[in-house]
C-alpha cells in the first residue's frame, strides 16, 4: 500500500482545542452530580489502626464516606500485579495513598469532610533509598519484601571482555523522578446508569483495561462497565494505569449518583505516577580502535510504593542498556525496589532514557580517551539488520541505527558546530554533542499485542472509524483519518473517529509503547480489506455477482462488477438500517522466544532517532540554555509531517526538562515540589530552535511502512544535552537534571 496518498491536512482536533470547545471527560457534568474527595495518608509509611468517619458523615451535604471495608470487589489495582489498594485498610505506603473517600454535594463540603475523617496511624520508618531498601534488615514496604523484580541477562563473558579491553569506563549515573505534568490532571466522572451498569468518563490510555480493572474493584461483570476515555488532556504514560477511577466508581455505585473529581495540580504531583529514578552503575570496555568489547550494567529502579509497570519498565531498560551496539559480552542486571517515594509507572521512554544517558555518556568519554570523534566510535559499533543484539536475539526487522547516525552527522548543526560554538561573552561556553537511540515498540514477547478497527459506511455515505486508541495530544487521530481516507479514496473530512470507549469503539490495545500509529496502520488496513469483502458480499446478495468479486476504492467510491458506485450510492443501497462495517484485526509480530529470565523481552520492532544539541553554559551561575537541536528520525513513512514535527518539538521539550529542570524532590517521603513554581518544566522561553531531518526507511510489517515515533524523539536529546555541557565546559554530568547549582558545583569542585 505504498501508493496510498496521505492528504496533508491540519489536525482534525485542532479547531476544537484551539477554540476551547473540545469537551474533555473532566469538563462533563451530570444532573445531581456529587463531588469526591480522596482522603490521603498523613504519613509516607504507617499502619492504619482505625478510621473514624462519624464526624465527616455528620457534616451537612456529605452523602457518603467510604473506607476499605466498603470496597465491593477486590481492593486493589495494577496492570501487572494489583497490589495498590483503592482504599488502604491496614497500611499506607506513600503520601498519595487513599484512606477514605468522601462524596458530597459540593467540592468544598467534600474537602471539609475529608479533614474530619479521623485516622489513627502507627508510624513506620520511611524507606527512601532503593539501595538501602535491598539490605536484609531494611524495613519492608510490602510483606513479601522490597524487591518488585530482579532481572539478570547475560551474553558472553563480561569479565573476560572487560579484561581484554584497552579502556574501561566505569561510573554511576542518576536520573530524576520526572512528572508527566499533563495539562489535564487525573479526573473524571463516574455515572451509575438505570440498568445497574456504570459509565466511567475519565481520560485514560486504555479504556478496555480500565474496564477490567474496574470490574475487579467493583465485583461486577465487565459488560456492566462502560468506559469513555477519549479525548485525553495529555497522558505521556501517566494515565496508562488507573488513577482516580476506582475511587469515584465505588462512590457512584454506593450513592447511586454521578460522582466527579478533578485533582488539583498539588494533589496530582503528590499522588500521581512518575518516571522511575534510576541509579545506573555501568562499566563499558572498548578496544583502542573504539570497538566495544563488554558492557556491565546494574540498574536500581526506585519503584515507589506499588508495582504498576515497574517490572516491564526495568526490563525494557535492560533490553536497551547496551543500546543496539555490537557488544559481544554483556551483563545487564536490574532491581526494581519498593520504597515510600511516591509511585512510579509508565512514562514516555519507559526506562530507556535512564540507561541510555549512562551508556551514551560512557561512549563519549571513551571516544575522548581514545582520540576518536563521537560519530566514529558510534558508527564502529552500530548493529545492522540480521545481527545479534546485546541481549542475544537476532534483529529480524529493520535497523536504522546507521541511517540516523549518518543523517545527524550531515545536519547543519553538526556540520557547522564550530561556528555555532562561538561566543564573545567571556563567561559563556558553548558545546555541541550528539546521541542516538533505538526504542523497542509494542508490548514485547508473551503479552498479546492486539489491535482491532472498524470502518463503518454510515447512512449518509460518510465513514466512522471505530478504534480503541485515544488522542491525548500526539496527533494520531489525524494520522488514522488520513490512513482510512487514503485507503477509501475519500477526502479526510468524510471520516470521523470514535475512539477510546468500550461501547462504540473496538479494542486496539493501549495508546502506549510507540504502538498507536503502527498498530492502527495494520488494523485499519485489515478493516478496509474487510470492508471491500463486505461490499462484495452485499452486491452478491443483491446482484449475484459472486462473493469473491474484488471491489477497488477509487475517487470517492468503489469499482465493482456492477459498475462504479459512489459511497453515497452504496450507503443508499446497503447502509440504511445499519452501517456497512469492515472489521479488521491485527496481532503484532513478536520474537519466537523470550530472553530467559526477562519477561517481555525482546521487542521485535524498534524506532530510531539521533539528536544533536547546542548548549550555552553560564560559568558564573551554572545556568544552561539549550539553544538548538537537530533531530534525525526514521518514521518508516511519514503520515503527517506536521504531527511528526510536533512530536519532535514535544519530545525535545520533555527531554530537555529531564536533562535540565525536572525532578520531583521527595524528602523522607514528603513531596517538596508540589506545584509549577517548584516543579520546573521548560517554558516556551526555554525550548530550542529545531532542525528536522525526516528519514523514511519503511518498516516492512506495517501496511504503510510506518514506525512509532512518540517515545524515541525524547531519548537521545537527554544524553546529547549532558554531553554538550561536557563539550562546553569539560565537566561530565552524571546526575540529571543539570540544574544551575548542580552544574556550578561541578564547575567549582571546592564549593
Amino acid at each position: 500500500m505504498d501508493d496510498i496518498h496521505f492528504e496533508q491536512i491540519a489536525r482534525v482536533d485542532a479547531q476544537g482545542k484551539a477554540c476551547g470547545t473540545t469537551a474533555y471527560m473532566s469538563d462533563l457534568s451530570f444532573p445531581g452530580m456529587l463531588y469526591a474527595w480522596f482522603v490521603r495518608s498523613k504519613y509516607p509509611h504507617a499502619l492504619v489502626k482505625s478510621v473514624d468517619i462519624s464526624k465527616a458523615m455528620a457534616l451537612d451535604g456529605v452523602v457518603t464516606v467510604l473506607t476499605a471495608a466498603d470496597v465491593t470487589g477486590f481492593n486493589g489495582f495494577g496492570i501487572v500485579n494489583p497490589d495498590m489498594p483503592v482504599i488502604c485498610g491496614d497500611k499506607v505506603r506513600y503520601m498519595g495513598d487513599t484512606v477514605a473517600l468522601v462524596a458530597a454535594t459540593t467540592e468544598r463540603i467534600a474537602e471539609q469532610a475529608a479533614a474530619l475523617v479521623e485516622v489513627e496511624y502507627e508510624v513506620l520508618p520511611v524507606v527512601d533509598d532503593p539501595i538501602e531498601a535491598l539490605k536484609p534488615d531494611a524495613p519492608k514496604v510490602h510483606d513479601k519484601g522490597n524487591v518488585c523484580l530482579h532481572t539478570l541477562i547475560t551474553k558472553g563473558d563480561v569479565e573476560q571482555g572487560l579484561r581484554e579491553a584497552d579502556v574501561v569506563i566505569e561510573h554511576e549515573y542518576r536520573t530524576p523522578r520526572q512528572a508527566h505534568t499533563a495539562l489535564e490532571t487525573e479526573s473524571g466522572v463516574a455515572v451509575p446508569e438505570a440498568d445497574g451498569s456504570l459509565s466511567m468518563y475519565a481520560g485514560s490510555q486504555y479504556a478496555f483495561r480500565d474496564q477490567l480493572q474496574l470490574a475487579r474493584i467493583l465485583g461486577m461483570n465487565p459488560r456492566m462497565i462502560h468506559v469513555y476515555s477519549n479525548p485525553v488532556g495529555g497522558g505521556f504514560g501517566g494515565k496508562d494505569e488507573l488513577t482516580i477511577q476506582g475511587g469515584i466508581a465505588l462512590l457512584a455505585m454506593k450513592t447511586g449518583k454521578p460522582v466527579k473529581v478533578v485533582l488539583s495540580r498539588e494533589e496530582s504531583l503528590v499522588s500521581g505516577w512518575k518516571r522511575h529514578p534510576f541509579i545506573v552503575r555501568i562499566r563499558t570496555g572498548f578496544k583502542n580502535d573504539g570497538t566495544m568489547l563488554a558492557n556491565d550494567v546494574i540498574c536500581y529502579e526506585d519503584k515507589g510504593a506499588y508495582s504498576s509497570l515497574g517490572g516491564p519498565i526495568l526490563n525494557l531498560a535492560l533490553e536497551h542498556a547496551s543500546s543496539l551496539y555490537r557488544v559481544p559480552n554483556t551483563r545487564h542486571e536490574g532491581w526494581a525496589v519498593f520504597t515510600n517515594n511516591g509511585v512510579c509507572g509508565a512514562f514516555r521512554g519507559f526506562g530507556v532514557p535512564q540507561v541510555l544517558f549512562a551508556l551514551e555518556s560512557n561512549m563519549d568519554e571513551a571516544a575522548e580517551k581514545l582520540g576518536l570523534d563521537p560519530v566514529t566510535i558510534r558508527r564502529k559499533n552500530v548493529l545492522y539488520q540480521g545481527e545479534v543484539s546485546p541481549i542475544g536475539h537476532t534483529l529480524r526487522t529493520g535497523v536504522s541505527m546507521d541511517l540516523v547516525l549518518d543523517a545527524i552527522e550531515k545536519s547543519d548543526l553538526w556540520q557547522h558546530r564550530e561556528e555555532y560554538k562561538k561566543t564573545d561573552k567571556p563567561w559563556l561556553r558553548r558545546g555541541v554533542a550528539l546521541s542516538l537511540a533505538p526504542q523497542g515498540a509494542g508490548l514485547g514477547v508473551g503479552i498479546p499485542d492486539y489491535g482491532g478497527a472498524y470502518i463503518d459506511l454510515d447512512r449518509d455515505g460518510n465513514f466512522t472509524l471505530r478504534i480503541g486508541l485515544v488522542e491525548y495530544g500526539q496527533g494520531t487521530h489525524t494520522g488514522f483519518t488520513q490512513m482510512a481516507a487514503g485507503l477509501l479514496h475519500v477526502h479526510p473530512s468524510r471520516v470521523r473517529i470514535v475512539a477510546g470507549q468500550t461501547e462504540g469503539s473496538v479494542d486496539t490495545g493501549p495508546a502506549t509503547a510507540s504502538r498507536s500509529t503502527y498498530t492502527a496502520s495494520n488494523a485499519i488496513a485489515a478493516a478496509f480489506h474487510d470492508f471491500g469483502v463486505k461490499v462484495a458480499g452485499a452486491l452478491d446478495a443483491k446482484y449475484h455477482t459472486g462473493a469473491d468479486a474484488v471491489c477497488e476504492a477509487k475517487d470517492g467510491g468503489m469499482t465493482t462488477l456492477v459498475g462504479f458506485r459512489t459511497y453515497e450510492e452504496l450507503a443508499q443501497e446497503f447502509a440504511q438500517e445499519s452501517p456497512l462495517r469492515g472489521e479488521g484485526y491485527f496481532v503484532w509480530p513478536t520474537a519466537d522466544r523470550e530472553i530467559p529470565g526477562a519477561a517481555g523481552l525482546p521487542h521485535w520492532i524498534y524506532s530510531f532517532a539521533a539528536q544533536a544539541a547546542l548548549v550555552e553554559v553560564n560559568t558564573l551561575t551554572g545556568e544552561t540554555r539549550l539553544l538548538k537541536v537537530a533531530t534525525a528520525l526514521d518514521t518508516g513513512r511519514t503520515v503527517n509531517l506536521q504531527q511528526v514535527e510536533g512530536q519532535i518539538d514535544g519530545g525535545v521539550a520533555q527531554g530537555e526538562g529531564f536533562a535540565l529542570f525536572e525532578d520531583t524532590l521527595i524528602a523522607k517521603g514528603q513531596v517538596r515540589t508540589k506545584n509549577f513554581s517548584t516543579y520546573i518544566i521548560p517554558t516556551v522561553q526555554d525550548v530550542p530552535e529545531h532542525e528536522y531531518i525526516i528519514l523514511e526507511n519503511p518498516e516492512g510489517t506495517s501496511a504503510f511502512g510506518v514506525r512509532g515515533i512518540g517515545e524515541v524523539v525524547m531519548v537521545p536529546i537527554i544524553p546529547a544535552v549532558a554531553l554538550a555541557i561536557h563539550d562546553a565546559t569539560g565537566v561530565w554530568v552524571r546526575q540529571l537534571p543539570a540544574t544551575p547549582e548542580r552544574l556550578y558545583r561541578l564547575l567549582h569542585p571546592g564549593l
Partner: protein
C-alpha cells in the same frame, strides 16, 4: 481550600482609604492578585476581608514631571516594561518588570503589590532601590514619603500601617551618562521566582569612570540589600572594558549578602551566583554604554 472572605471593591482612592481605615488590620489589599490567590489557596492569608484595588484607575499611571518619574502603585509589570518613560529614565525597573513571571502575570501584577508584599525575592524592589525611589504612603490623614530602602523591615514586613496604602513611587529620571540595569537568576527563563537578582545604577563621568554606583541584591538576605562596599569597588574600575576587573569588583558582593538554603538553592551557591550575576550584567551594560559613546 480557599476560606470564605468578605470582599469590598474600592472604586477610587478615597473609597480605598476609607475602607482601609474602617477595617484596619482585618483587611488585606488585593491589587493584581497574582501572589494573593496562590497564598489564599495555601491558607497563608490571615486577614478575612479583601479590599480590591484593581478598579482604582487613578493609581495606574506612569509620568515624568520636571526630571522625576512618577509610577502609580497600580501600574502593572506589563505597563512598566513597555513604558517609554521607564525604559528611558529608569531602565532597571523596566527590565525587572519584564522578568516577572510570564505575560499573564505581568498583565495582572502591579508594582504596588510587588513592593507591599515585601518579599526578599520581589523583582522590582532592587530596581527601585538603585533608582533611589521614594514611596508615597497615603492614608485618610495624609501622605508620607519613605525612601524605598527604609520601607522594608523584614521578609514580608514593611513600615506600612494598617490604614495606609502605597500609592506611588517616584525617582529622579536618569539621563545621559547614567545607566541602570537588572539581572535575574532563576530556575528557567520565565515563570520563575528569583534565586537571586541584582539591579544597579552607574553614573559615568567624563573620563568614562564610574563616579557614582548603587547596587542592590534580592533573594540573598531577609530584605533586598544595598551593596555599598561593592559600589565602592565599581567606582574604582579603570575606564576600559576589562572582564577581569569587573569580575574582581563584583567579587566584593560576596561580603554583603546573607542568603539561606531553601528549595531553590543553597546559601553558599547563592553567594557565588550573585557575584556572577552582577559581573555579567555590569559587563553587558558598560560594554553597550561605552560602545555608544
Amino acid at each position: 481550600m480557599i476560606k470564605e472572605l468578605e470582599y469590598h471593591a474600592a472604586h477610587d482612592l478615597k473609597e480605598a482609604l476609607e475602607l482601609a481605615e474602617q477595617f484596619g488590620p482585618r483587611k488585606r489589599f488585593l491589587s493584581g492578585g497574582t501572589d494573593m490567590t496562590v497564598r489564599l489557596k495555601e491558607g497563608l492569608v490571615k486577614e478575612d476581608i479583601i479590599v480590591d484595588l484593581s478598579h482604582v484607575a487613578e493609581l495606574r499611571f506612569v509620568r515624568e514631571e520636571s526630571g522625576v518619574v512618577h509610577v502609580g502603585a497600580g501600574a502593572t509589570h506589563a505597563d512598566l516594561s513597555a513604558s517609554p518613560i521607564v525604559r528611558q529614565h529608569g531602565l532597571a525597573l523596566a527590565l525587572a518588570a519584564s522578568r516577572v513571571g510570564g505575560p499573564q502575570i505581568r498583565n495582572m501584577g502591579t508594582i504596588g503589590g510587588n513592593v507591599a508584599n515585601a518579599s526578599p525575592a520581589g523583582d522590582t524592589i532592587p530596581a527601585l532601590i538603585v533608582l533611589d525611589a521614594v514611596v508615597s504612603i497615603t492614608s485618610r490623614t495624609g501622605t508620607r514619603e519613605v525612601p524605598i530602602i527604609d520601607f522594608f523591615t523584614g521578609p514580608g514586613r514593611s513600615v506600612l500601617a494598617a490604614e495606609e496604602l502605597v500609592t506611588e513611587f517616584h525617582f529622579p529620571a536618569t539621563g545621559p551618562g547614567e545607566l541602570s540595569a537588572f539581572g535575574k537568576l532563576g530556575a528557567r527563563q520565565a515563570m520563575t521566582i528569583s534565586t537571586a537578582n541584582v539591579a544597579f545604577y552607574f553614573r559615568i563621568g567624563g573620563d568614562r569612570r564610574i563616579v557614582e554606583a548603587r547596587i542592590a541584591f534580592g533573594s540573598v538576605a531577609p530584605t533586598v540589600v544595598r551593596a555599598h562596599k561593592t559600589e565602592q569597588m565599581f567606582c574604582q574600575l579603570p575606564p576600559l572594558l576589562s572582564w577581569d576587573a569587573i569580575r574582581g569588583a563584583a567579587q566584593m558582593a560576596w561580603k554583603e549578602v546573607a542568603p539561606i538554603d531553601d528549595l531553590r538553592a543553597t546559601a553558599v551557591y547563592r553567594k557565588e551566583a550573585v557575584v556572577g550575576l552582577l559581573a555579567e550584567a555590569a559587563y553587558e551594560a558598560l560594554a553597550s554604554c561605552w560602545h555608544e559613546r
